[in-house]
């Protein structure tokens, strides 16, 4: 994925929309902040997600963080490569490290999401 074309939540999840199918992951900034990843909990295929609500959690040596859904919809695919080996997420958070795919209820419901510029601004503020 090209990070510049994705949409983001302030909590560092990204989403790529292709028609009704959304691919969801977490940003490189989030991965760098977490470091030392231990395990990830992702939903099962078929599970219904609600935008803004938690859909899983990721644990690092330092802390546990909830993952928030950028969109509402039904899980169609879970990236088992990441579940098996979090190194995949550490190395390629915008590519091979995607987390889940979702069939979106309403592909136009993205007004709460940030574009890359807005997300980068938010991250810059967080670093201060």
């Amino acid at each position: 994925m090209d990070p510049s074309t994705l949409l983001y939540l302030p909590s560092h999840e990204w989403v790529h929309l292709d028609g009704k199918i959304a691919t969801i992951g977490i940003s490189k900034f989030a991965v760098d902040q977490l470091t030392d990843l231990l395990m990830i909990d992702l939903p099962e295929v078929g599970k219904a997600l609600t935008a803004g609500k938690g859909f899983g959690e990721i644990e690092s040596v330092k802390s546990v963080s909830e993952l928030y859904a950028p969109v509402s919809g039904k899980v169609t695919e879970v990236n088992s490569a990441v579940v098996d080996d979090l190194q995949v997420l550490s190395e390629d958070p915008f590519g091979k490290g995607w987390l889940i795919k979702v069939e979106v209820d309403d592909p136009s419901a993205t007004s709460d999401l940030l574009d890359r510029a807005a997300y980068e601004k938010k991250v810059a503020e967080e670093e201060h």
Partner: protein
Amino acid sequence: MAVASPLKTPLFDWHQSHGGRMVEFGGWLMPVQYSTIVEEHRAVRERVGLFDISHMGRLTFDGPGALDWIERVTTNHAAKLAVNQIQYSLMPNDRGGLIDDILVYRTPHGYTIVCNASNRPNVVPQLEAHREGADANFIDRTLDTAMIAVQGPLAAAVVQPLFDQDLGAVRYYRLAMGRVLGDVDTVVSRTGYTGEDGLELIVPAGQAERVWAALLESGRAHGIIPCGLGARDTLRFEAAMPLYGHELADDINPYAAGLGWAVKLDKGEFVGREALRAFRASPGSTRVGLRLDGKRIARQGAWVLQGGVKVGEVTSGTFAPTLQASLAMALVETAAAEAGTALEVDVRGHSEPAKVVPLPFYRRPAAS
């Protein structure tokens, strides 16, 4: 109440300009990590790491009344200290809980108490409250000195070339006063908080950056790296060193925490003695180690259960980098504290099987 802005150590600028990720801790801005917690943890277990611990309180005492004053507010027997010796001790409240855990240094000039950063605002008033006309001077030296820890099996090899005293004579829980870099008055102690051999240097604040840089240079051939509070916590956790606010608190008694050895009830009168005597007879709970089957981490506050019934709470938990397992320390009912006991931990709604294991989780290999 006014909210004080966090304090900065004399090494703050260095941390910021060398990639330290700064967080507020105990009222100070401190580096939590420079690279990753696991990388810094491994450096200390296998080689050597450098820590800024200037946030810890350094309180010095001199005068003929200093010893009695310290004895009145601490549980261990400071009178047993030889010159240049250090003692782990506890500062109790009158209910038998703890205000802090401390180190008492006996120097050729008097005594120094090293306390936790976040507890210094409680330790100092407790000292003042129990001064009782003691013929002694007390100075809080925290802000005009810096404290640097060199931890790991190669610690002495890093420090010795810079120090004008023989570290071979500075055994565990001993100190030496001398000079580093030829002109910096320094107290070097051998205590540590990582489970490894280690040395701490107390230097004037104005010399901190110079000494820090010299230690990095001296340690370069040994693979030294700067380490943050994150690794300090995983290291102390594996070594089962208690951390105030976790294994120790104003409502946790030292017998429950496994620190009864640092309470000398027969040394004479001191704060909290009668309450502590009662806790010795029935501590109520016991600090244990837990090993979880899965990778989920049992963090502080997670309930420990036996057959679905709550028997205790986790005080610290992490993934132990050296042991590659999800481990926790917990305070549990004494009946559930025996090694091998099968328990469960409620990790955010997941019931995770766990087993009581002996502490410490990690013990360094005997010196060869």
